[in-house]
Symmetry: C2
Subunit: 157 residues, 2 copies
């Protein structure tokens, strides 16, 4: 159906459930799928605060940690890539890691790549089921001009 799907993942359970439910309902092929993980710059900040005694917080050092987090994320995406490609029935699959504020990067990549759809779980890592959406999902919905497919991930079935 959709030419090019952007699937942002935070590696959470909700995120994996979204792709499973998509797989269950989707019967035809997807042209291309981009799986994106955004290394949250806010988390890096927390990390640095937590280990403040270990780091001098020099520019170079921070950049180094950022690169390590991105490499780790790339590794995780690579591990999941084959399975995701199959589940998405995607002819082509690309993995992508960005650094920044997750919703901002998601909206940016959707534009840059001119995707035809963003696939989002209702709740990712930090979502609570009593909220309608997780905060990243809500912010993407607010900012993007692209169609968004919301998959509920926190209901009891």
């Amino acid at each position: 159906m959709f030419r090019k799907i952007l699937f942002p993942t935070d590696f959470s359970e909700g995120s994996m459930r979204a792709i499973q439910r998509f797989n269950r309902d989707n019967e035809s092929e997807v042209g291309e799928c981009i799986i994106l993980h955004v290394v949250d710059e806010g988390r890096l900040e927390e990390l640095l605060n937590g280990y403040a005694y270990l780091y001098k917080r020099e520019e170079r050092e921070i950049k180094d940690i950022e690169e390590k987090l991105k490499a780790k994320a790339m590794e995780k995406l690579t591990e999941r890539a084959e399975r995701c490609k199959k589940m998405m029935k995607a002819n082509k699959l690309r993995i992508m890691v960005r650094f920044g504020i997750p919703y901002e990067e998601i909206v940016k990549v959707a534009e840059e790549e001119n995707v035809s759809l963003i696939l989002l779980p209702s709740h990712g890592k930090q979502g609570f089921s009593y909220e309608i959406f997780g905060s990243t999902t809500m912010r993407v919905l607010k900012k993007t001009k692209k169609p968004v497919l919301i998959i509920k991930t926190h209901e009891e079935e």
Copy 2:
């Protein structure tokens, strides 16, 4: 892609724009599409208040107006059916009229018909572009367990 799509429409411009954008991005066929219009019971109430001097507000009379509104909606849906079927690339198309509170009926029909997707415009008749969603869209998103495809309809392109 999707086996069975529910497309609720309030006959608004936003609603029509959603189907056009869906058509633009969707390349494969849809198994079945149900186009639903809910005659808003709140509007009937307004109508009756506005014309209070004309009606005795008897049960029978109210039922009669309800039936007329439903018939009118069915007529409008019928007019649009062929075009919608084509735009949705739907193998099968059904039209349906309900009476009640729009978001409640949409959620109910989605369950009863076990649709695989609800297609919603970000804003329908009463939406304002400064809001993220129209109120019916927001309520459906909150209540349904079904995947929801949100199509932004109020941005400048």
